[in-house]
């Protein structure tokens, strides 16, 4: 779990900053409305190479664990909605993709690198963060998610 330990600890243990963003299907989603479920918020960008590896892995995790109470939200900081939408389509992800067009949500989460993920527990507290995506990170996510789902 080295990648998780190496992540910036700034938001860990604090309430996840709330946001409401427009999704690809036109719906507006608010993070705090998922209180009671474990939420994985993944910030990604088309130009971030690791996002190409991470998004299919997150989709697998989402498919397996969504019935157990996991919600995966992909947040793109690209301001080009059409191209981001095409990219998400090409990745074949089934979880909601949200557009942070003005970058305010990214700022709230103090994003410095892409991709970066935050695991939020059922009480709305950030419990783990992970910057980038490398081999083994998927298993680290699974360990943490299982632990949070058990709480």
């Amino acid at each position: 779990m080295s990648s998780l330990a190496a992540a910036p600890p700034s938001l860990v243990g604090k309430d996840a900053p709330d946001f409401v963003l427009k999704a690809r299907d036109g719906k507006n989603l608010r993070l705090s409305e998922f209180r009671g479920e474990v939420v994985l918020v993944n910030f990604w960008a088309r130009w971030a190479g690791d996002s190409r590896k991470e998004m299919p892995a997150l989709d697998r995790i989402n498919t397996t664990y969504q019935r157990a109470g996991l919600v995966v939200l992909g947040v793109t900081v690209d301001d080009d909605v059409r191209r981001s939408d095409e990219f998400a389509n090409s990745m074949g992800v089934s979880y909601p993709i949200l557009f942070d067009l003005d970058g305010s949500t990214g700022r709230d989460y103090r994003i410095q690198k892409m991709p970066v993920s935050f695991l939020v527990d059922r009480a709305g507290v950030v419990r783990y963060t992970n910057v980038g995506f490398k081999r083994g990170d998927e298993n680290a996510y699974l360990d943490e998610i299982r632990e949070l789902l058990r709480e």
Binding site: V20, L21, K22, K27, N28, L29, R30, E33
Partner: protein, 220 residues
């Protein structure tokens, strides 16, 4: 209640709370039960030495003595409940005080949003500009829009504006009839006086035209 009297009232509340806390901590300390335990034995001694005197001087019956800790804990529970009530009161006073400090009545402007029926309009977002400056922007989730349709009223903006004339422009976006994207504006020029100003944005259905209607109402 003016500002000074509110401060005095809050200080009094704080004093009462401190006293209650002290009382509670005393009640919870282990000393009192020990005292009652030592105080209890003399009663039987008195009855064995002088039964007549004991009969004459009523002593605490054993059942009542056993009830004492129960009634004590009941009193303690009542005190804790009272303390909780005081904390809530104090919190309310602090909230009101904070609002009065941040948004004094002579500059306060509040804008509320309500929806009536909503058959012809599915709300997506509202942007409010006052004097051409964006002061509020809200994206509505399905749950929030539902709450508005059920009669909820949202305070979408609370801020300070100078006394005088101001122009409020509200932009509403959403889905109109036949799922079409809909964007409408509503404008109101209002006069900010010395008291707080309350404005209401109201979305209603204009049934004869099968269109939504956007109103801005000035609450005097």
């Amino acid at each position: 209640m003016n500002f000074n009297s509110r401060v005095v009232s809050i200080t009094l509340h704080a004093g009462v709370l401190a006293l209650l806390l002290a009382a509670t901590s005393l009640a919870q300390s282990p000393a009192p039960p020990a005292e009652s335990a030592t105080a209890a034995p003399p009663a039987p001694e008195a009855t064995s030495a002088a039964p007549a005197a004991a009969e004459a001087a009523p002593t605490t019956p054993p059942a009542a003595a056993a009830d004492a800790p129960a009634s004590e804990s009941k009193t303690l529970d009542q005190e804790v409940q009272g303390l909780k009530k005081d904390v809530i009161e104090l919190n309310k006073d602090l909230f009101v005080l904070e609002e009065e400090l941040l948004f004094p009545a002579n500059t306060q402007v509040a804008v509320f949003l309500s929806m009536d029926v909503g058959t012809f309009f599915a709300l997506d977002s509202v942007t409010i500009k006052i004097d051409n400056k964006e002061v509020a922007n809200h994206l509505y989730t399905a749950r929030e829009a539902d709450a508005l349709l059920k009669g909820g009223v949202q305070r979408i903006y609370l801020g300070n504006q100078k006394v005088g004339k101001h122009e409020l422009v509200a932009f509403f976006t959403g889905k109109g009839p036949i799922e079409r994207d809909y964007r409408r504006g509503a404008t109101l020029v209002f006069e900010k006086g010395v008291g707080a100003k309350y404005l209401e944005l109201k979305i209603t259905d204009r049934v004869p035209k099968h269109q939504p209607e956007f109103l801005v109402k000035d609450w005097e």
